[in-house]
Structure formats: C-alpha cells, structure tokens
C-alpha cells in the first residue's frame, strides 16, 4: 500500500495509458458491432458467418494475438496499436452477438407499428431499434469494457500494458506490494468503467426506470438516484481473462 502512495505519479502515468488502451478498443468494438448488427441483423446467412468468425476470434489467446498482429499488419512489435487492435477485435466479437440479440428483442408489434406508420427501414433501425436495444447493449458493453481493462495488462509481456507493467516488474523484483498496487488500481478502474456505462445506459433509457409512484400519481419522471443495481460484472469476467 505504501508503495502505491510513494509512487503515485508513476502509477498515474500508467493508469492513463491503461485507460487509453482499454477505452479506445471498447469504443471501437461498440461502433463496429453496432454497424454489423444494424447492417446484417436480418440477414441470416451473413449473421451466421459473422457470429462464427466472432466466436473464433474470441478463442484466440490474447498473448498470441498481440504477437501475431505485427506480422499481419506490419507494425512494430512494441507498437501500442497491436494491443488496441487485438482488444478491439475481442470487444467486437463479444458485442456483435449481443447486438444481434438486442435488436431481435425489439417487440414485433413495435416493428409492425413502425412499418405501418411509414418508417423506412434505415430510419426504423436508427430511431426505433437502436434506442430499444440500448439496455442489453449496455450490459454487453460493461462486460467488454471490464474484460478490456484486465486484458490490457497482458500486453505488459510485450512491453505495452499500462498498469500490467507493475505486475511484470513486481514479479521480476519479487516485490508483492507493487503487484498489489497494480491489482488495486485495475480493480478500481474496472469498477469505474462498469459504473459509468451502467449510469449512462440508465440515463439513456428513462422509460425502463419508471417509478411505480410516478405512474400512479402522474408526477414528472425523475431518475431514482439511489436505485440498487446488480453488482458489477467484472467479478465474473475477471477470472475468465486469466486464461487468455
């Protein structure tokens, strides 16, 4: 613990790097998965292929992917881009299935209504399907984000790993405090990510959080500030990453 406090500036620098390395792939993953989902959601063949490829990508161990990517796209072995690309691939793979399922979950009568009222297909996708898919999509994004936070540290083995570097040097120097510091900050980071996504999703979906009191007496809707939420999903995601 003391080590963490004594080396705050160094840890802060690594945290910023860690943030960058996990945040960007999550964002890219959401955007790409959404694009794929909206474009191919109702084409069964394309969908089957995308799902299969996504599953295949997700089974590649992360370390292997970090090492292989430079030889495929010609980057330097120590280029952070390798980690970014690898994690973006994982996020996309993880999210694309969620996107398909989320879009499928939109009630048929709502789609029917949209068609009958005069929505074009593209317009319906964006203004009806997408907002209604936000909640399940956010759940998937939370898993992807937390997975990324843990996976970034694997990058430390190839020299790009944000806080993961604390594990490597802590292990090499046989200095548990440093490792502990890394674990603490990564856990905190995962927790913050998870919360930020959950709260954002909540703000984007006010219709899913209607207090029964508000419904009964017609008062204006307001988000319930202290509503209990299911604990963050990193608890289940974290052990999974160890195998990568």
């Amino acid at each position: 613990m003391n080590w963490l406090l004594d080396n705050l500036p160094q840890v802060l620098g690594l945290t910023v790097e860690h943030l960058y390395l996990s945040l960007v792939p999550t964002f890219v993953g959401v955007v790409v998965a959404l694009g794929l989902g909206l474009a191919f959601g109702n084409r069964p063949r394309a969908r089957a292929i995308i799902t299969a490829v996504a599953s295949a990508i997700f089974t590649i161990p992360s370390l292997a992917l970090f090492v292989v990517i430079p030889s495929i796209i010609g980057t330097q072995i120590l280029d952070p881009l390798n980690v970014l690309i690898a994690l973006a691939l994982y996020s996309t793979s993880l999210l694309v299935r969620t996107v398909f399922d989320a879009l499928d979950a939109v009630a048929p009568e709502v789609l029917n209504a949209a068609e009958a009222l005069g929505y074009s297909h593209a317009r319906r996708r964006i203004f009806v399907d997408l907002p209604l898919a936000v909640a399940p999509l956010a759940a998937g994004t939370r898993v992807a984000a937390v997975t990324n936070v843990s996976l970034v540290s694997v990058g430390a083995v190839i020299g790009v790993g944000g806080l993961g570097q604390l594990f490597v040097s802590g292990y090499q120097r046989n200095y548990p405090d440093q490792i502990l510091a890394g674990i603490i900050v990564i856990l905190l980071l995962a927790l913050v990510f998870d919360r930020v996504i959950a709260v954002t999703a909540r703000l984007l979906t006010p219709w899913l959080h209607l207090g029964t009191a508000a419904a009964a007496n017609g008062t204006k809707l307001r988000p319930r500030p202290h509503a209990p939420e299911v604990p963050a999903q990193h608890g289940t995601a974290a052990p999974g990453q160890e195998t990568k």
Binding site: N112, P131, T205, A215
Partner: protein, 355 residues
Amino acid sequence: MITFESVSKLYPGGTQAVTDLDLQIATGSFTVLVGPSGCGKTTSMRMINRMVAPTSGRILIDGQDVADIRAVTLRLGIGYVLQNAGLFPHRTVLDNIATVQRLLGLSKAQARTKAHEAMERVGLDASLATRYPAQLSGGQQQRVGVARALAADPPILLMDEPFSAVDPIVRLELQQEVAHLQAEIKKTIVMVTHDIDEALTLGDRIAVLAPGGVLHQYASPIDILARPATDFVASLVAKDRGFRTLSFETLTGLGTTTLPVPGPEGLIDMSALAPGWGVRVNRDSGTAAWIDADGAVFGPHPLVPADASLRTGLDAVLASPTSAALLVDGTGNIGSYFTLADLGPLLRPNEQARA
C-alpha cells in the same frame, strides 16, 4: 374511394388468404371487414397501405394504383391503429403521437403542438403527455394509438382490431368515442374485427369475409341483419338477430300518451297507467324514478329521446316496473310516455325491413 379490383393473395406454402376480392370503399365511409380468423380481413386491409402485396389484382386509392406509390410515402398518408396500440415504449405519449409529423419533416416543436391537439381530440388528459406507454392503462394506450394515427390528419384511417385487447367497458367507451369522432372528422375508415357486434355498431358498410378470404356480403348493417346473403352471414348474425335489428329502427310513428300535470313536489300521478303508481323526473340526470302505492322507489330509469332506436325504446319499457317509459321530445320537453302496447305496431322487423 378505395377500390379492390379482383385482388387475391396466395401465401407461399399455398395458403389462400384472399380470393378474388372486389370492394369499393367510399370516401368518408366507415367500412368494417368482419369474419373469423383466417378470413383474410387483416391481409386485405394491409394491402391498402402495401404492408402486404397482392398476388394478383390491384388496389386503387382515388384511381391511383397503390403499387405505383412509394410504400413509405403511401403509409405516411394513411393513419394506422394497431391491435395492442403498438406504441413505441421509448417515447413519451406526446412524442409517440408526434411520430408521423416528425417523419413528415415537421420540427419537434410543431409536431408536439399538433400532438397536443390530437390528444385533446381523443379525450386524453394533457397531464399524460410526459408519461411513457408503460405507465398507461390499456384503454389509455389505445387512445394514444388512435391519436397517433389521427395527428397528421390523414384522409384514410386503417384500424386493425383496435379494441379487442381492452376490457369490455373500456371497449364500449372507445367504440362510442370513435363513432363520435368519425361523425366529426369524416375520414375514410377501414376497420378489421372478428366481433360482429362491433361491426354492426360502428360500420356504415360491412364486408363479411369467410375463411380463404371470400367476400360473402358487402352491405349496410341493417341489410346484413335483415337479409343475410349466405348461410355463412346468417350464422354470423344468428345470435339476437331479431332484437339487434331494432337498433337500426326508429321510434317514428310511436303512439304516446300525454303525461298528467305534475303534482306538488314534482310527483306525477300515473294512476291512469297503473293504480297507485307515480313517477318523478330528475332533469339533471335525465332519469325517472317510479314510486308505488307504498312509497317504494324504483329507479332511476332512463328517459327515452324521441330520436332513440326502437331497441332503446323497447329496452326502457321492458326495464320499467310499469312497462312504460317517458319520452323526451326534440325540444327537450318531457310531456308523454309510451307502453309496450304502443311499441307493438313498430315491432314487426320483417315488415320494416321489407318496407
């Protein structure tokens, strides 16, 4: 005018949904497509706004083949009410209603202004504007569905079993409101229902479809009741058929008896009708209460307006302890009553229908 020209629909797999349908739906009419499930009524209606394409034949709106109109453009000009309201769960009541106006390119503020007007028209309280569909009762949701369909003021309104998912009391209320609304706005309404009662109550014209989408009769409600064209139509209207016919007949020619002058405290002595009985009128509630010799009060009983249907008149008489009902004339004057005997000459539906 909506015209079906020998329209057929054969689904892949061999289901014949609609068979050679010819139908002319007059502008401003309320046409009900009625029949059991699998009779192609919804399919037929959905061909009007191209949600279903006919296998053969064509559908014209004011002479123009709908197949030549871009589907989205066509649909934006046709209001649509769905069975379970089909509201967008992520939009407030106001924004649900504003949907079509937004799609037509109106600004959010303009669309919302129109939506407020539509809410008023269908009897939705303004305080509901900011609620989400999940916060509404089934009846309110369906009202929002109607408001959404009407907000852009389309000349044509399609309604797909709009009241089948709400409870009977709300259904009756909504039916009355739609009938009232239609009298005011005179849209061309095409409604689908499996409920022949609903069809008879609301429709100016009823198209009876049998399984396979075969049109059996296309006529006014009274004709459907009095002269069913086929056994199928007859079986559909078999229940209470004679009694229901009375709904379409008036009290014209009804013989009445002048009411005696009210005594003190407004009590009218009805001894001439039934010894010892009296009646007291409550003008505020439009009801009458009968009072027997011992002072026991029976009521309230409705007063019958002179323009009421024969069914209403008969029902009032049957419900009255003295077998008589008070009549309100066209000027609001309550000056006479009639009895079962007075209704006798009118209660010959077959003669009436033939007349």
